[in-house]
Symmetry: C2
Subunit: 167 residues, 2 copies
Amino acid sequence: MANMYDISIPPLVLTLNNLSNILKKGETYADTKKIEHTVLLNGRLFPDMFALTRQIQIATDMSKGAGARLANIEVPKYEDDETSFVELQARIANTITFLEGIKPSQLENAETRHIELMVRKTKLEFTGLDYLSRWVKPNVYFHVTTAYNILRHNGVELGKLDFLGPR
Amino acid sequence: MANMYDISIPPLVLTLNNLSNILKKGETYADTKKIEHTVLLNGRLFPDMFALTRQIQIATDMSKGAGARLANIEVPKYEDDETSFVELQARIANTITFLEGIKPSQLENAETRHIELMVRKTKLEFTGLDYLSRWVKPNVYFHVTTAYNILRHNGVELGKLDFLGPR
């Protein structure tokens, strides 16, 4: 058996720390190559896909939503107005601070908690465990991987260890 | 508390089924647009990143390795010689069949099982739970997302529901 806290909060914090490091490498690359930051921040893999900034906003949204809903506390609201690496780093850092403030005891029995969320106009309902396994994890990894892929596609030198984190 | 089987085998099977559907859409797109299959199969987001075929090989490797190691049975060997959509679909289907053959009882106490694996020349050691949370899940989602992104970057019409699966 696995503890709900162990399979949610620490892996999310690790992933967000990795995202922060990936983004930092993107910023350093832009500065070294004298590329305007907005070029990378608006980078995307296809015209109707979300740009880098939005990928980071969604990855952090999914993470704060997961911590809050599994702990049964209010989901923090963000303004979604970041336009720089500094502001995106602050968003990631705030999300990590929020998650690190959640105690294992708040996630006791979270696996059976009834979770509802609105996605556009559709109400989704999950058990806590399905919410984590079938919604949060795939979504967070999807958007962090896509942020990585956008930077990689633009020439930033990243390797899978940047995505997985230090061992 | 969450059962190790519930947080490993069904999410992996779901993700592989989604990968199969994504790949099917890629094949249909190639046929509709009269694009040689190898163009998509060799597609990549940057010259030194892995191509689509390799992304699928790694996603399935990570999945079969996870099922086998957590159940403490032998990891199936694949030849890694797929050169077509049909062969890649067979690889995904074989992996799903392998995972579906694993019983929940085989994963009892898998969270504390000592897991060792060689990655190139480095030995990695994990508890079963860390192996699943810090290695398998991020790696599988990374390679499935990158397969999705390669196809999306090449114009295949995919949406996040293709990645997340039916609800």
